[in-house]
Amino acid sequence: MSGREGVAGAAPDDPRGPGAPLSAGMSLTCGGVSFSYEEARAAIPALRDVSFELRAGGSLALMGASGSGKSTLLQVIRGLDEPESGAVLLDAAGPVGIGHAVLQREVGLVFQAPELQLFASTARDDVAFGPRRLGWPEAQVTAAVDTALDVVGLPPAHFAERHPYALSGGEQRRLALAGVLAMRPRLLLLDEPFVSLDPGTRRQLVGILERLKAAGVTLLLATHDVDLAWALCDELLVLGGGRVVAAGSWDFSTAGRRLLAANRLREPFFVELWRRLGRDPQRAPRTAAEAAEALS
């Protein structure tokens, strides 16, 4: 990103007030996005003509084998790389003009193993990094940091002054997430957020994402865990070799299942369970709690 981010400057005063919940989501449209990177002086196509839509407040699971282009796509959407052809439209605003750059600041990207990016000496300072880079006044930064720490389950009273490296692995993961949430993203991109998480933190993270969804944030979740994708996301986008091989609502018809299998994805557990219990798989529950309700 060029220096324009800092110059375009202090964001307008947040009309929702410092204690407001994270704001409503952004819509995303990718139209024919292609991207290659260079390795050993050869151009390796990573994304080929990727097109899909994600409505504001929607939730999309991005799936596909390692190397299928998931991480690349997320980074292109965030604006870290320019597509060589095609366009990324945020809230229907195209890539030309300052409007797009401003919107990109409202797109949050949580990398794989995000705890690797922790560097400050207190949790507060680390989480404040993003908001400060956005040029917000210090009072707004503090409010955003406190809110973000609360959302990820690290109450500021106990955690704000702790050293990031003194925290447990799960706490560090959540702290890194707070660092992105503090920037109040309206579109949240997550790259395999559940990998190497202990079971407790995994459960917590699912809860955090559910609350963000409920608050209206648009969610784009890259994951290889089909059950977590089913629990959190209304729609599905499957990449294979950089191309879109499936996009849209979950489809458990025979054709749909064949498509999943062809991409080495099994059916979500509860979908298969519903099918084997003789119930309609399309109406299968998303979580254990829902399933238990239905079976009680």
Partner: protein
């Protein structure tokens, strides 16, 4: 897979094991007992902070116990430095992070590392390395550099390097925690095969479904033993499993959720089939 305990001396004969990290408030391990016999597959489960990784390092002779009534690994006394050094020869340890176990610039050289350290003659090293590469499906990756390997390939390389030194027991500390599903399958298959060949295995994990096939399960909670016995006994106690903070497959989560709503299933199912059976059989 298990042998009769009366006839052979245990590979691990540990009693009253204590360990505390410098400056820590509490013991990482407190008064722990553990016995593992030839050919056994023992699963050690516990949440973060339960002492699992500390135990792995102690069993491998990589750390000195603070105290113990008895701490023998393959007959070597872990309380004595010479004993620990000798234990490292008989006890193999595979760690969680595949990246931070590979030392050499290609797969072949890394698998050879342990044998080079033991000053084996070059020809013998060559033969053993060939054997290991074939065994773990790494032949085509022989000259590949570590940064070009997938997570599963790295972990298999590390495992080949550990097993290249003929071991009497293998300790694995959450070996699949950082891998994607494909890598996880590769490593679990390799480990099950080793177990099937009769190598004693201590498998440390937070995920219940990786304990499938274990002869015994030991559960740790804050450095002490919360359960030791056969897997079935632990699976029958849903409340204990929940308290231990372990990772359950979807079938298990559903069973716990049903129990919370007053519908108790017999035992804790881990697979879809077990769940369907339990649902079919319950009221």
């Amino acid at each position: 897979m298990s042998s009769s305990p009366d006839e052979t001396a245990p590979l691990f004969d540990i009693s009253g094991l204590h360990y505390r990290y410098a400056g820590a408030q509490a013991d990482a391990l407190a008064d722990l007992d553990l016995e593992v016999y030839e050919g056994e597959f023992v699963a050690v489960v516990g949440a973060n902070g339960s002492g699992k990784s500390t135990l792995a390092r102690l069993l491998g002779g990589l750390e000195k116990p603070a105290a113990a009534r008895r701490a023998l690994a393959c007959g070597h006394d872990l309380l004595v430095e010479g004993g620990r050094t000798a234990a490292r020869r008989d006890v193999g340890v595979l760690f969680q992070n595949p990246e931070n176990q590979l030392v050499a610039q290609c797969v072949e050289d890394d698998v050879a590392f342990g044998l080079e350290n033991l000053a084996w003659p070059a020809a013998d090293i060559g033969r053993r390395v060939d054997e290991m590469l074939a065994r773990f499906g790494l032949e085509e990756l022989r000259r590949r550099e570590p940064h070009m390997l997938s997570g599963g390939q790295k972990q298999r390389t590390a495992l080949a390097g550990v097993i290249a030194v003929p071991r009497r027991v293998l300790v694995l500390d959450e070996p699949t925690a950082m891998l994607d599903p494909a890598g996880r399958d590769e490593v679990l298959t390799a480990v099950r095969e080793l177990g099937g060949e009769g190598l004693a295995i201590v498998y440390i994990t937070q995920e219940m479904d990786e304990t499938v096939g274990a002869d015994r399960v030991v559960a740790l909670e804050r450095g002490t033993e919360a359960y030791a016995g056969n897997a079935g006994g632990l699976f029958a106690d849903a409340a204990l499993v929940r308290r231990l903070g372990l990772g359950l497959p979807a079938a298990g989560e559903l069973a716990l959720a049903l129990a919370e709503r007053g519908r108790d299933l017999p035992g804790l199912p881990l697979t879809m089939d077990e769940l369907l059976d339990a649902l079919g059989g319950a009221t």
